[in-house]
Symmetry: C2
Subunit: 487 residues, 2 copies
């Protein structure tokens, strides 16, 4: 028997032993991605891309419902445009890739490959916007972006990645803030409802916010090793860019004003978070709402060929029934491989529900279901096929979310003293919730001393006005922030 390349006899690294190695193993062996000859870039394979298409479908529908129009701006950004906003340039300049030759000639001005599109877009917005009637302007693009990172991991940090970037322009700042918060909510809901992940959602510190933003809102995932993964951001840009790029409009009293802007994005990094949070020692676990297939039907061969054919036909019927009822199903009748090998393969690929059909099932009118997340088995009457499949998939989706909530809860620690902070941060990686005076200097020192950076001020704590003391300097602090080590 020929063995498929990515599928040796050797098991995966254990997740608890070495999550980084486990992660690379799973990404490769579940056929999500492959390494490429381009340093730090990856190839997104069909299994990985199918997840991205699910993300696109869900978010794109949400955008369209909210009257956000898709468009496409150039990949290349003239150097002088990127230079216009100083903080923005500073933030991105170490990561830029630069085109210096094109069409056989040295370019008189180099082009930068977009690390994000604020500058190229906003230059054009200045031409598009003249009157308050042109507002709000709400657009989005699905595209590739390039950020030259030193240390890269598939999905989590690659020199090229795919994302969507929404950009809006509003007459008044309140509208822009509302928009930024709305986008944040779409992301949060997406993670909860589809990826079955319970994230932290809040405001970034001044130090950690997007280069050029007034406020950055962020969705942060708690990885099972206690590290934090920034999984989507939404920025209130204020009138910062609109002043720099001279975007202005006449209001209904013919007064010239600078509008207020937002930008917000979610990328293929989200897939990395999905793998890290739900996967186990047997490989990937996909939440039913984004899994394709959701159900795999395994035909178990019989010694007698005629019996095997009967089983196949029976399985085919089951397949068609599920398919007709809108479920995403795969029928595996590839009897060349051993049953153990095939089970192993579907487990690595994370298909949420497995149905096994052999001689016993053919005769007994009962079907064996195996859940990927718990490995628990159940026998189901054929008559209950659809209802049971649907309820099991629902249950898996819910249980995965509950599991993610537990991870988040278990890996979050409230801390009152810096001694505790240091002790805990040395012992293990967790999210630490602690009072902070919101002074940059304390933040920097904590990061230097513990490697823990501020992640977010949770949304429900923004308006708190407590009488606490900064965990580092002891000065008055009104609110508790979340600290963690970035993935």
């Amino acid at each position: 028997m020929q063995e498929k390349k990515n599928f040796g006899k050797k098991g995966l690294t254990k997740k608890s032993e070495n999550i980084a190695k486990w992660y690379s193993d799973v990404v490769l062996r579940a056929d999500l991605a492959d390494y490429s000859e381009v340093k730090g870039s990856m190839i997104i394979k069909p299994n990985g891309y199918a997840i991205w298409e699910k993300v696109q479908t869900v978010l794109d529908k949400k955008f369209k419902q909210n009257d956000i129009k898709n468009c496409y701006f150039p990949l290349l950004i003239p150097n002088h445009l990127l230079k216009k906003e100083k903080k923005h340039l500073q933030g991105f300049s170490p990561e830029l890739a630069v085109v210096t030759y094109a069409g056989g000639e040295k370019l008189s001005e180099p082009y930068v490959l977009r690390p994000t599109s604020e500058t190229i877009m906003y230059k054009t917005f200045a031409d598009w916007i003249h009157s308050y009637r042109d507002l709000p302007l709400k657009i989005n693009q699905w595209c590739n972006v390039i950020r030259w990172e030193k240390r890269t991991y598939p999905f989590l940090r690659t020199t090229e990645f795919l994302w969507q970037e929404g950009h809006t322009v509003h007459q008044i700042e309140q509208e822009a803030i509302k928009m930024a918060l709305e986008a944040l909510k779409w992301y949060e809901d997406f993670y909860k409802d589809y990826f079955a992940i319970s994230p932290y959602v809040g405001i970034k510190s001044e130090q950690e916010k997007f280069a050029g933003a007034k406020t950055t809102y962020s969705v942060e995932l708690v990885i099972p090793n206690g590290k934090a993964l920034q999984a989507a951001t939404s920025h209130n840009l204020g009138d910062n860019f609109s002043k720099v790029f001279d975007i202005s409009f006449l209001d209904n009293k013919e007064k010239k004003c600078h509008p207020f802007q937002t930008s917000w994005g979610l990328s293929t990094r989200s897939i990395g978070g999905l793998v890290l949070i739900h996967g186990d020692d047997s490989g990937l676990i996909l939440p039913p709402k984004v899994a394709d297939p959701q159900v795999v039907i395994l035909v178990i061969a019989d010694k007698e060929k005629i019996q095997s054919e009967k089983i196949k036909k029976y399985a085919q019927k089951i397949y068609e029934k599920l398919n007709k009822n809108g479920l995403r199903v795969k029928l595996d009748i590839d009897l060349k491989y051993s049953l153990g090998y095939r089970i192993n393969e579907w487990e690595i690929k994370g298909v949420p529900l497995r149905i096994e059909i052999g001689q016993k099932e053919l005769k007994g009118k009962k079907i064996k279901f195996v859940r990927r997340d718990t490995f628990s088995q159940s026998l189901v009457f054929v008559e209950d096929l659809i209802i049971k499949t649907k309820s099991l998939l629902d249950q898996i989706q819910k249980d995965l979310f509950a599991k993610s909530e537990k991870i988040k809860r278990d890996l979050t620690v409230e801390v009152n003293t810096y001694q505790e902070f240091r002790k805990i941060s040395q012992a293990q990686k967790v999210f630490i919730r602690a009072f902070w005076c919101e002074d940059k200097k304390c933040e920097e020192k904590i990061k230097q001393e513990t490697k823990f950076s501020t992640r977010v001020l949770e949304m429900n704590k923004v308006k708190e006005n407590l009488k606490g003391k900064c965990v580092h300097c002891g000065k008055p602090a009104k609110r508790k922030w979340l600290f963690a080590q970035a993935y």
Copy 2:
């Protein structure tokens, strides 16, 4: 009244007078695209991108039905990979854009921005393919590509454009040929069924084929000025790339073989063809199957405010009825602008069907329909709203296709002598069908002397074995080819 920027009082250039100028006018004023600061790159605006999304939806469904999986390969191609296939490199090297700096450092090997992805993909296919069981491999990607063109036009030829590129690998050549022809058929059907365009479809000459292909099949559009627009291509690559990139598999007798490959693509250029073929002196005309909206409802204001409100409510009802029946409708109640201005705007944007609702319609229970393609008007009883709207949209789709067939027929001339060929090609741009000996030298001379290049040998003429004489050299020629000037 504030005037929208792209919408001055001045009319469009007449299509018959200066199609190039007319084209730029329409693209800008229908808000399909805008120029950018990046030389030769365009911004695809929401109206243009919506058409591209329709293309994507139709083709992507077709791909998935045929078990072609989407994936994503890196934008950047290491120089040495591109160099591997000599003809391929030669074909693309004048158009390459090159990244030489990244992450603050000069790169030891420059990266080229993909002009197409054969080389980066096939390098990896060699790792993925080992056994006949790994075949066929059928993938596709939707992405941006960069080709540094000197003369550029929005959609038709830009330094960056969007496309899909399908790539397949097969055990035997017959399968690859079948696949290449199948993709060609998808493109042809797409142009006919959705874009309402009747194209020429056939084989490219050796000289004009894709750099590195064994055979190139092409879809060519006849532009109303008689020029040819290559609008999609499909390549049988033979085992040319598989040998160069050392892709091989063991067949079922354990013999090592090189597989056979195809690649095929359709780009945002298709939108340029759509504009050129259907548009008229009043602007864009969109075929109902790709138009969004398909119907615009214009509310005509009454002098009395109360009456106007009644009309609006009535129009809203009509809107909801159409919407519920699956039609893409837009309700225009923006009474700030004059009726003439609003009509003008929707005509420029090419909405296939306009419904006008004013005081007369409110009272008379009849609704006024105006077709964008013919400007013909009809009064429709409210009871017939849905059936009439659907039948009119169907009719517009059919009539546009018939119009495109007529353009093609009228602009194709059969020619027997080179004297005729020269005379006609000097007088006007048309497609010329003529015997050609299939010798490269004749082809080159014809091109030098007339600017007419071979477009395709039509599919239904591939097997012809006539006793003709080459229109240029008089030597025996078996088949008639199509010649035209490229757009």
